[in-house]
């Protein structure tokens, strides 16, 4: 399993943020396979492999922004975690929101991790490192 490429699904409406996250992931050599969707509706289509995303592989981890057009991150999280076939996919919430309500709601909906998008580069790197560490632990547990 460690030899296989880890498939990331990045749910992010902001192109710039998506670029930054992907760059950070690449720099930390975490993965080389990142799929990106731009809103909650697309994310669900991707996960359920329907519509334009039919035949797409199931992601190993979902990086989920909360503020999304159409269907917001919380709803995506809730649908994902209540879907028998999808709920084992770990979800890392990545958002600019530091609101306590968002954190509580995310963990209530079984988010696996909650990361706040940092505004400075150093902290962004740290966030991705945390993600890496988390991912390693996750694999150990699931292996």
């Amino acid at each position: 399993m460690n030899n296989r490429l880890v498939r990331f699904l990045l749910v992010e409406d902001d192109d710039d943020h998506a670029e930054l996250i992907q760059m950070a992931l690449a720099e930390n050599r975490i993965t080389n396979k990142v799929e990106r969707v731009k809103d909650g509706a697309e994310a669900m289509d991707y996960l359920r492999q329907t519509g334009a995303f039919a035949g797409k592989p199931r992601p190993d981890i979902v990086l989920l922004d909360l503020k999304l057009p159409k269907v917001d991150g919380h709803e995506v999280l809730q649908q994902l975690k209540t879907d028998e076939s999808l709920r084992t996919i770990p979800v890392v919430v990545m958002t600019t929101s530091q609101a306590e309500a968002d954190k509580v709601k995310a963990y209530y909906n079984h988010a696996n991790s909650y990361l706040t998008k940092p505004v400075d580069f150093g902290r962004f790197q740290k966030m991705v490192k945390d993600l890496k560490l988390y991912w390693g632990l996750w694999n150990q547990v699931s292996a």
């Binding site: 409406d13 710039d16 943020h17 731009k38 503020k67 057009p69 400075d120 150093g122 962004f124």
Partner: protein, 809 residues
């Protein structure tokens, strides 16, 4: 007062002490005694014989003087006896007047005056016989005639005077009694004057003395008649009505009167003979008997008084202190209205010292006309037993020493002490109570007006939940009139299930004291007459009134407050959402700025330039976006805060201006825009409404014009409650799931952030709301979208209150 005896009361205790019967026997004996003496041959005559001038000449001067005195011995005896009678009459009158002062018994002065008048004739009779005054006729006729006249007069006056007050039952008024006394006295005095004048001036007087006849003095036999009537009829009746020693003495005095007449009529053949002297002596006795009677009566009155007080003191020594310290005034009077006791409270209440009023008639404590009616009232009660106050008690008027009057409660009880009826009056000054009653009434009316004008509903119920009062505000709140709910159970004002629980709740509270509302106050639901429910603040207090628990509920309809609270909560939530959204969305470009500027710096250090353009463009766009966000936010906040002047806005013109501003975009995209020509005028803030249509048009251009032949239609229609405006495009449409969402702040359906910030429709919604209207979207995917705005007449600032509400352009 006139009567001393209750009906059925036969004998008073004092009659045992003074034993009037013994006195009668004594007086009778005295009348018979001279007859016995005469029979035994005792000579009771005085003087006698005659002195001839010859005989007188033979006497020496001293012998002559001696003989003359002896000759005049009869005259002296007559003078002494007659004068004793005169003095007796005078004393009777004095004592009668004294006694009258105390008892106000009108027969007393009349008897006194009658005797005094008879005494006056006796004075004339005596003085004339003694030659101290000159008369027209000689000694012999005069002495006999004046005697007869005096006796007849005396008998008649006694009969008239006493009879007047014995048979006239109607004299219950003091004033009427006094008038009668004056009239009778004046009559007697006038009669006396004419009799004396006739005797003194007439030269011929009728013959009154017939020495040879059986009846020597027939005039005296005539005078016997009134005495007999007095003795048989008038005085016994008088005694029955006035059981006093004086009445007894009057009756007993008839005996010497009759004896006097008999001795005189049958015995006396000439002046100064035995029978003449006996008659004169008995006449004096007949005057002295009433003196003794009156004196003893006075003694008895005071002795009764003393004995009553002593008895009370002895047997009820505590009673005295009770009387002294009693808050109520306690006054006792006897059957004639004479005050016997007067306690401390009475002194304070009436302003009299005890010593000033004890012994006086109780009517001094009453203002007219009660003071005059009181004696009659007591007399009437004693005679008939018809009580107006005794044993009942009522409110009467009292009179203070200073003349002022005051309301008082009077309760009178009747007791018998040593055979005498005593009335005890308990008096309470009710001035303060009257004042308190007035105050109570004032308070009550004040409370009533407070209740009536109170803004809060005030409802009182008893412990069974029955409504006792329901004020005006409560009527307004619940829609019931007070008369409809009085004596209904209060649960008719509560919706179920509270209505069913209320009785149990009161019962439980009364048993356990476990209060859920009482003394606390809370918000509950109320039920109006029309069946609608409403939120109300209820605070309940509990009062004990005369052993019953009364609950007073103060009710306030809080519908409006609840609405305001809900509105406030909504606004707070909106504000929270706003702050949350703003903080999130404003942070987003910052993340971009920081991220790419850091990468740019890394590239610069590494000498890499290939990504320079890309990064700087991203940074530039993030900055622009940030600026746009801040501008839009400021715009939105202004929409919420500022409402400009309201004036009629012609929709057609306004929308045409908007279109003109966006002409370039429309032309570039090749969109056909049609604007209805005759749209109505509405009231509103023109600049804000302009912004609404700017945003809606922009929105349609941006997102609704991806068809092959894009078109936008704008129009309006008047409906019965206002105006509806629509902005319709033929674009791809909006899925129904997002119809509500799109009006939220920073909500976009498009992921391309360059197109907009997600504030435009939020601004539209806010402005329409501020105008009292609302906005929604109707759309199906692929069928275009219709944005509808509704402005209602009479709400917010959208429609003028005056006509015309709407007009065609």
């Amino acid at each position: 007062m006139k009567a001393h005896l209750l009906p059925g009361h036969s004998k008073a205790l004092w009659e045992d002490e003074f034993r009037p019967a013994y006195w009668a026997w004594g007086i009778a004996s005295l009348c018979v005694l001279p007859l016995v003496l005469l029979w035994l041959g005792v000579d009771l005559s005085s003087g006698g014989g005659a002195l001839t001038p010859e005989a007188a000449g033979a006497l020496s001067s001293s012998e002559l003087n001696e003989t003359a005195h002896k000759l005049l011995r009869g005259s002296f005896t007559h003078t002494i006896l007659a004068w004793t009678a005169v003095c007796g009459a005078a004393f009777v009158m004095i004592l009668a007047l004294v006694h009258f002062r105390q008892t106000r018994e009108p027969s007393l002065p009349v008897v006194g005056v009658a005797l005094a008048c008879a005494g006056a004739i006796d004075v004339f009779h005596t003085l004339a016989i003694d030659r101290l005054i000159e008369t027209a006729v000689a000694d012999g006729e005069l002495i006999s005639f004046t005697w007869a006249a005096c006796r007849l007069f005396n008998g008649m006056t006694l009969l008239i005077g006493v009879g007047l007050f014995t048979f006239s039952r109607g004299i219950h008024s003091v004033r009427l009694g006094n008038v009668l006394v004056v009239i009778a006295s004046a009559g007697f005095i006038l009669a006396t004057y004419f009799i004396i004048r006739y005797c003194a001036a007439s030269s011929v007087l009728p013959q009154t003395l017939f020495p040879d006849a059986l009846v020597k003095r027939p005039y005296d036999l005539c005078a016997l008649a009134p005495y007999l009537i007095c003795g048989v009829a008038v005085f016994p009746l008088y005694l029955r009505r006035h059981r006093t020693l004086f009445a007894y003495s009057l009756l007993w005095s008839v005996m010497p009167h009759i004896a006097t007449q008999l001795y005189m009529a049958f015995g006396s053949v000439r002046p100064n003979d035995s029978c003449f002297n006996i008659a004169h002596g008995l006449k004096a006795v007949s005057y002295l008997v009433p003196i003794i009677g009156l004196s003893l009566e006075n003694v008895r009155t005071y002795r009764t008084l003393n004995r009553s007080s002593a008895a009370l003191l002895k047997s009820e020594s505590t009673m005295q202190s009770v009387l002294a310290t009693a808050v109520d005034a306690i006054i006792t009077i006897n059957g004639r209205g004479i005050i016997l006791s007067f306690n401390h409270a009475a002194e304070k209440m009436f302003g009299y010292a005890r010593t000033e009023v004890v012994g006086r008639n109780v009517n001094v404590l009453m203002p007219p006309p009660y003071s005059e009616e009181h004696d009659g009232y007591v007399a009437n009660f004693l005679r008939t037993g018809d009580a107006k106050i005794i044993g009942i008690g009522r409110e009467v008027v009292g009179r203070h020493k200073n003349g002022s009057t005051f309301p008082m409660d009077l309760a009178v009880s009747q007791v018998e002490i040593e055979g005498e009826i005593i009335f005890a009056g308990i008096v309470r000054d009710v001035t303060e109570r009257k004042w308190a009653e007035a105050e109570l009434r004032r308070n009550e009316s004040m409370m009533r007006s407070v209740l009536t004008t109170a803004v809060d509903g005030i409802i009182t119920i008893n412990e069974r939940g029955t409504i006792l009062s329901f004020n005006h505000a409560a009527e307004m709140i619940f829609g019931y009139a007070e008369s409809e709910v009085l004596s209904c159970n209060v649960n008719c004002l509560m919706p179920s299930p509270y209505a069913g629980q209320h009785d149990d709740y009161i019962t439980n509270f009364l048993r356990t004291g476990d209060a859920k509302i009482i003394g606390i106050g809370r918000e509950v639901a109320g039920l109006r007459k029309d069946g609608s429910t409403f939120p109300m603040d209820l605070s309940v207090s509990q009062v004990e009134i005369e052993g019953e628990t009364i609950f007073a509920g103060i009710v306030r309809d809080v519908t409006e407050r609840k609405q305001a609270e809900t509105e406030l909560e909504r606004k707070n939530a909106e504000m929270e959402q706003f702050v949350y959204t703003v903080s999130h969305d404003l942070k987003s470009p910052l993340v971009t700025l920081q991220g790419f500027s850091s990468h740019l710096w890394q590239d610069a250090q590494a000498g890499r330039t290939d990504r320079f353009e890309d990064y700087t463009q991203r940074i530039h766009r993030a900055t622009e976006r940030m600026t746009q966000l801040i501008d839009d936010l400021l715009d939105l906040s202004r929409v919420g805060r500022v409402v400009g002047e309201t004036r009629p806005v012609r929709l057609t013109q306004l929308i045409q201006q908007c279109r003109a501003r966006l002409d370039k975009l429309i032309t570039d995209k090749g969109i056909t825009v049609t604007i209805q020509k005759d749209m109505p005028t509405i009231l509103g803030d023109e600049a804000r409404l302009s912004q609404v249509f700017d945003n809606l048009l922009t929105n349609a251009i941006k997102y609704g014009c991806d068809a092959a032949e894009p078109r936008i239609d704008i129009g309006a229609e008047v409906f019965d409650q206002g105006v509806r405006v629509f902005v319709k495009d033929n674009g791809r449409g909006i899925p129904s799931a997002y119809h509500h969402k799109i009006f939220g702040l920073f909500e976009r359906l498009d992921t391309d952030k360059s197109k907009g910030t997600g504030v435009g429709l939020a601004i539209v919604k806010r402005i329409v709301q501020v105008h009292g209207g609302h906005v929604w979207v109707e759309s199906n995917p692929g069928e275009g979208a219709v944005f509808r705005l509704e402005f209602r007449a009479g709400r917010g600032v959208s429609v003028p209150s005056e006509s015309p509400i709407l007009e065609k352009v």
